[in-house]
């Protein structure tokens, strides 16, 4: 029982980081129907921003975590904005395949550019520790251990998600986003500035990924190389598909399902761990092809 709960906790922690990345995939897809493969690299960029900014922020503000995460979100938001402007906007009315290939190109460019020795470099980096890790043993005979870093991960991602739901559902910009997602030409006829809406999606999504990057760095304390985004990015993308791509609560649910099934599968058999996690995903998608919360839209012929 103790181990079961501990694995659940482990899964929730991984799931929180996946969720922040998955939200960016799903938001961009919802609005421009583009799978932004470079999103995983924005996550990586955010993590490296934390690496460079944390010592500076600690000097200026005393405490580093909150200013660093805000600064990293601003920078990755800006990066997303520039990326959309330079790479995706010129192709908006071209075939969707061109944009997809461009996304792959941007991703490969970011990884390899950042891996150059004078940019971030290809070697291991120890992430500055902004939070002193402390263990909290839960009273009782289950032997559960929760670290303050875990609470921070879950706390930050849940509050960012709540903020995002509020933004999408309660603000005027959110309403415009939903309208564009629903029907782009009609929204445009209603006087919505589509360029602004798309840019906003490309700022908000990457900003969340940037926050995810900081949490990743804080949790694991190491940045292996500028290729570190690929694997979590892949899992988050699958989580977004699992939850129903384009659906914001779906991405969060998918991410937690992904994290928790991964932890449990690994605990059952560590050799097959990831494999089992993916089998679960395939099973769910076989039963619900549009994802857990995705709407099934029959195509009219």
């Amino acid at each position: 029982m103790g181990q079961f709960l501990q694995q659940l906790i482990n899964g929730i922690q991984i799931g929180s980081i996946y969720a922040l990345i998955a939200l960016g995939y799903t938001m961009v897809y919802g609005i421009v129907r583009l799978i932004n493969f470079a999103h995983a690299d924005i996550f990586m960029f955010g993590a490296y921003m934390g690496f460079f900014l944390a010592p500076v922020m600690a000097k200026i503000f005393g405490g580093a975590f909150i200013p660093t995460i805000i600064a990293a979100m601003l920078i990755t938001g800006l990066l997303g904005f520039i990326m959309e402007k330079l790479a995706y906007r010129p192709l908006r009315y071209k075939s969707r395949l061109s944009a997809l290939i461009t996304a792959l190109g941007v991703s490969i460019f970011l990884e390899n550019f950042c891996a150059m020795p004078f940019v971030f470099g290809p070697t291991y980096r120890a992430f500055p520790s902004m939070i002193v890790a402390r263990n909290i043993t839960i009273p009782g005979n289950l032997g559960l251990v929760i670290s303050n870093v875990l609470l921070l991960d879950v706390g930050v991602s849940v509050s960012l998600m709540v903020l995002l739901f509020w933004f999408v559902n309660k603000t005027l910009m959110g309403k415009q986003m939903r309208a564009v997602s629903f029907d782009k030409p009609t929204a445009s006829l209603m006087g919505i500035n589509i360029d602004v809406v798309i840019s906003t999606a490309f700022i908000v999504g990457p900003a969340l990924a940037g926050a995810g990057g900081i949490l990743y760095g804080t949790t694991y304390g190491m940045l292996a190389s500028p290729f570190l985004g690929i694997w979590p990015g892949m899992k988050a993308f699958i989580a977004a598909v699992l939850g129903g791509i384009g659906n914001i609560p779906g991405a969060v649910l998918g991410a937690y399902v992904m994290g928790i099934s991964e932890a449990f599968a690994t605990s059952v058999n560590s050799n097959l761990g990831y494999g089992i996690a993916f089998v679960i995903l395939i099973a769910i998608l076989l039963i619900r092809p549009s994802g857990l919360l995705g709407k099934f839209v029959p195509e009219k012929v």
Binding site: A126, V145, Y220, M222, G273
Partner: protein, 381 residues
């Protein structure tokens, strides 16, 4: 007239060959093949330094006595540039042109695998200082190596944990996608259980370059309550594994193999890796007088302390020359037999070969103390 000329020509040729076959009085050639240029040039330089030193000392000590003639050794170093084909042609040259009595080399397993069949066919003994791939010495009975093979480290750490740390339960967490990690893990488990210990958790993950979260496996390990944690992985993932283990309250001693041997282990792992122990080939801090004499002589000669490469190359050359001296013959088969039965005592331990010509010898155990690598002990197999 033409016939006479032809006969004279043939005679000269035969005479010439005869002279060529007779070794120059008092000097024989020893060959070396190392990467002196290319990506692993520093390995080659260290290795050549080690061999040069061994040869110099051998000659200064009077060399060998072959058929009543005092014989010294002339060392010929060839560059393999890190490529198997270049190494192979270097081996051909050393054997056919320079008539070497033996070859020291190469550094990389793939190059050793390319020169092995050539040396084997010519009947010239070859000893690689640092090629760890199991297949290298399986090429034939003229091929030796001076370093222990990877799986052996698992056995060493099992002995250390069971006999020195006195632990009876252990857990293993390893990368199942890499032969190095797998070999160490399997051998640790087998040896530890043979000694009477119990491996209570044997957990794997796939690809340490991609994995950062080991909490699921560590939770299983913690529930099994081991007294020792064996992590035969590379420094980056070891640092993460130990950090997460400590974070979860799994505070048992940890150990690993030479994949830990990097300053980055402490840089990333910080306090979590403190007290960790790992096995490796050689430590310049080993207080044994023999090692310290070597370190001093090497440092004086090359202005830098020796690394594992230099020490193992020094041992490989020393071992071959010692066998040469013992058998008192320049015939490849005699030197080979002498090497097979060697009891050479080198810088990195006393040598004895098993049936595959892989050495059975001591490993060095290093402990992380105050964020520094410090020599702990030597463990015999």
């Amino acid at each position: 007239m033409r016939r006479v000329l032809a006969i004279i020509l043939v005679c000269t040729l035969i005479a010439g060959v005869g002279v060529g076959c007779k070794a120059k009085a008092g000097v024989v050639n020893l060959g070396g093949i190392f990467p002196m240029t290319g990506a692993s040039a520093t390995f080659g330089t260290s290795s050549k330094n080690g061999v040069d030193m061994a040869v110099e000392e051998f000659n200064a000590a009077g060399g060998a006595t072959i058929g009543g003639v005092k014989t010294t050794v002339n060392y010929i170093n060839e560059d393999d540039t890190g490529l198997p084909e270049v190494g192979a042609s270097a081996a051909q040259m050393l054997i056919n042109q320079d008539k070497v009595i033996g070859i020291i080399g190469a550094v990389m397993s793939k190059v050793s695998l390319a020169i092995g069949p050539i040396a084997q066919a010519a009947g010239v003994p070859e000893i690689s200082p640092t090629s760890t791939n199991t297949k290298v010495t399986l090429v034939g009975d003229y091929i030796f190596r001076a370093c222990f093979i990877d799986p052996f480290q698992g056995t060493v750490m099992a002995n250390y944990a069971y006999n020195t740390l006195k632990v009876t339960t252990a857990a293993v967490l390893y990368d199942n996608g890499n032969d190095y990690n797998k070999g160490l893990a399997e051998n640790f488990k087998a040896s530890f259980e043979k000694l009477g210990g119990k491996v209570v958790a044997y957990e794997a993950f796939t690809d340490e370059a991609k994995t950062v979260d080991y909490k699921a496996q560590l939770t299983v390990i913690k529930a099994a309550n081991p007294a020792f944690l064996y992590l035969p992985n590379y420094y980056g993932s070891v640092a993460l594994q130990l950090k997460q283990a400590r974070e979860m309250g799994l505070n048992v001693p940890a150990g690993g193999g030479d994949g830990w041997d990097s300053p980055d282990l402490v840089k990333i792992g910080g306090a979590a890796v403190e007290g960790g122990v790992f096995s490796t080939h050689f430590s310049k801090d080993d207080p044994a007088p023999k090692v310290q004499t070597f370190v001093k002589a090497y440092t004086a000669k090359y202005n830098e302390p020796p690394d594992s490469m230099g020490a193992l190359a020094y041992d490989a050359a020393g071992l071959l020359l010692d066998a040469f001296k013992t058998c008192g013959s320049i015939k490849g088969s005699d030197i080979r037999d002498a090497m097979k039965n060697t009891t050479f005592s080198g810088i990195s331990g006393a040598y004895k070969f098993d049936e595959n010509r892989d050495p059975i010898k001591a490993a060095v155990i290093i402990k992380i103390v105050n964020g520094q690598q410090s020599f702990l002990t030597t463990v015999n197999p």
